[in-house]
């Protein structure tokens, strides 16, 4: 059984994933240009989350002007390699600048609690399996995602999930959540 598990683990190639991810850094690198502001930081994301999102882009379950065409160039093996590579990296660091809106941060934490976000995203918002890490994600991207779920532009996966999670929240609430999560280490 140990041999079999080993075979499974080695099926994806993080080194190949690194090379394949190289062009993506234009938007997804920590110090990326301003056009990358609404692109997420992907280091340390769960392997299966990366893979599912690429599959959603590829099947047009999730539409994005940049990612939909890019995802169509990826094979299953590419997707597995990229997932394995990104999951192997240390997660990003939270925004260090002085928090100019501590009220938003506090409201965000309260909303996260009241809406049970950690049931899926786990305590510390580190993510797991097909559920993304949220801690220290870019604020602009978090807000865009939450708004897309709210407006119906982005749908969840198979289970009832994000569209319903954001349903009771106001736009101020979404801003508070994004502000709070981006500052969470």
């Amino acid at each position: 059984m140990a041999a079999l598990s080993g075979a499974v683990a080695s099926a994806a190639d993080p080194a190949a994933g690194k090379a394949k991810f190289e062009p993506c850094l234009a938007c997804h690198a920590s110090g990326a240009a301003p056009q990358g502001e609404v692109a997420p930081l992907l280091e340390g994301q769960p392997d299966n989350f990366i893979q599912w999102q690429l599959v959603y882009f590829r099947t047009e379950t999730r539409l994005d002007p940049a990612m939909t065409p890019i995802s169509k160039l990826l094979s299953d093996a590419d997707i597995r390699d990229i997932g394995a590579y990104l999951a192997s990296l240390p997660p990003p660091h939270a925004v260090q600048a002085t928090d100019e809106r501590p009220d938003l941060t506090e409201a965000g934490e309260q909303l996260a609690r009241a809406n049970r976000c950690a049931s899926c995203h786990l305590d510390g918002f580190v993510g797991r399996d097909a559920v993304p890490r949220l801690a220290a994600q870019r604020e602009a991207y978090l807000l865009k995602s939450l708004r897309d779920f709210k407006s119906g532009k982005r749908r969840g996966g198979g289970m009832a999930a994000m569209p319903d999670a954001v349903y009771p929240l106001s736009d101020t609430g979404l801003q508070a959540l994004a502000h709070y999560l981006a500052r969470l280490q």
Partner: protein, 419 residues
């Protein structure tokens, strides 16, 4: 949703205690107690709606997402080598590249249609044995797990409606728009995915699950209906049903039998999932009041006794997750298998040591008496919680072999028998 649950104060205290211990993880969520009795909850269930009144020991148990791209062929082949079957039976890979594969239905000309869960696709598998081609024929649907085929038409369940595509096999390359043949179903996403079975008269059996783990459900669900897609007529044939995503018509009697997933969050060892048999219109199978035929619900028994309800034909085991099933009507397997039930168990999530993820054989007479089960195909779970595959449906092929859809691997297997 907007008001804090009553247990929040103690949850916050726990969170503070956890924060004091682990400085790097300041946020720790308390345990949840659910009020799933409101329409607001059914229409917009919280993302963790499948949770119940969890205990500390159960915190963290959650359904697993399958690999997004399925399992690579070499790994599937390695797993199949370790699948245990009775003597004379053999399992092989029949088709792959079918992520989230759920219910299967044969077209008249040999096309296999396959529904799917997360990816929202319906697939068609065509071509000669050994070189099967997989096409995505529908996409963008909401959990189209249930598919059926009759009179040249493909039927697909899309949560709150059943759609029909005429002449589907000739049009697999462009199915076009489907026609809604039945739309009187709620849109609750939780337990809203379905399984479709025609009987020989053209009634289409459709299960409707409750939008919660355990609740007094809306009156429009927790039931099995049968629908006449020709004119949209429908009738309720069974009540008190939790999440059923599998069933078949007994070739001996025409009766509908179905598998049923029992509630979660009571215990690792209970309640048992069930196999049921409808013998009379409108029978009540116990949910939410009574589980496994003899266990009143601790919160929702509401004064009812289990003796008021129709007991299961067979208790299958706790958290085995029975899904698709078929009576065996082929000629390839030994005669003793005739009219036995093959049932695909998807395997656990709400249990510390997973079980299920196998095919069971159920031997039972036409009245539902003298039922017994034995494991037919197993070996997809390694260790406590590691899936290498999850059987989701079975179907008998023309040559009498048994096909198995696996929504974890994104593949279909063939089980054959040779003396």
């Amino acid at each position: 949703m907007s008001s804090l649950p009553k247990s929040w104060a103690s949850g916050a205290a726990l969170a503070l205690a956890a924060a004091a211990l682990v400085a790097s993880s300041a946020f720790a969520q308390g345990l949840k107690s659910y009020d799933s009795t409101k329409k607001e909850f059914w229409e917009h269930p919280p993302a963790d709606w499948f949770l119940g009144d969890e205990t500390q020991a159960q915190k963290g148990l959650a359904p697993k997402a399958p690999p997004a791209t399925g399992v690579p062929i070499e790994e599937i082949q390695a797993t199949l080598k370790n699948i245990k079957l009775p003597k004379g039976f053999h399992i092989s890979l029949w088709a792959s590249g079918i992520p989230s594969a759920r219910q299967m239905a044969w077209g008249d000309k040999g096309t296999l249609f396959v529904g799917a869960f997360g990816v929202g696709n319906v697939y068609a598998v065509t071509g000669p044995e050994g070189s099967k081609q997989v096409k995505v024929v529908l996409k963008g649907l909401q959990m189209p797990t249930g598919v059926a085929f009759r009179g040249g038409a493909l039927y697909v369940a899309d949560i709150d409606k059943i759609l029909k595509w005429d002449n589907a096999e000739a049009n697999v390359d462009n199915l076009g728009e489907g026609k809604v043949v039945y739309g009187d179903m709620p849109s609750y996403p939780a337990h809203g995915w379905k399984y479709l079975v025609f009987d020989k008269h053209g009634w289409l059996y459709v299960p409707l699950g409750p939008p919660c783990n355990e609740c007094l459900p809306p009156t429009s669900v927790s039931q099995i209906r049968r629908v006449n897609p020709e004119n949209g007529n429908a009738e309720i044939v069974a009540l008190g049903v939790r999440n059923s995503v599998g069933g078949d018509v007994d070739p001996r009697t025409g009766d509908y039998w179905f598998s049923e997933n029992a509630r979660d969050w009571l215990a690792d060892n209970g309640p048992s999932d069930k196999l049921n048999h409808i013998t009379r219109m409108g029978q009540h199978f116990g949910y939410p009041y009574c589980h496994q035929g003899n266990l009143p619900d601790p919160k929702y028994a509401m004064g009812h006794k289990c003796s008021e309800f129709t007991p299961p034909v067979l208790n299958l085991g706790a958290h085995v997750a029975p899904l698709g099933m078929k009576f065996y009507t082929g000629k390839q397997f030994p005669a003793a298998y005739q009219n036995n039930i093959f049932l695909a168990e998807h395997g656990s999530w709400n249990r510390h040591q997973y079980q299920g993820a196998r095919i069971v054989r159920i031997i039972v007479d036409a009245k539902g008496h003298q039922a017994k089960q034995e494991v037919f195909a197993s070996g997809w779970i390694k260790g406590a919680q590691d899936f290498h595959g999850r059987p989701a449906d079975v179907i008998v092929a023309k040559d009498g072999s048994l096909l198995v859809a696996d929504d974890w691997a994104g593949a279909i297997y063939q089980i054959s028998y040779k003396k």
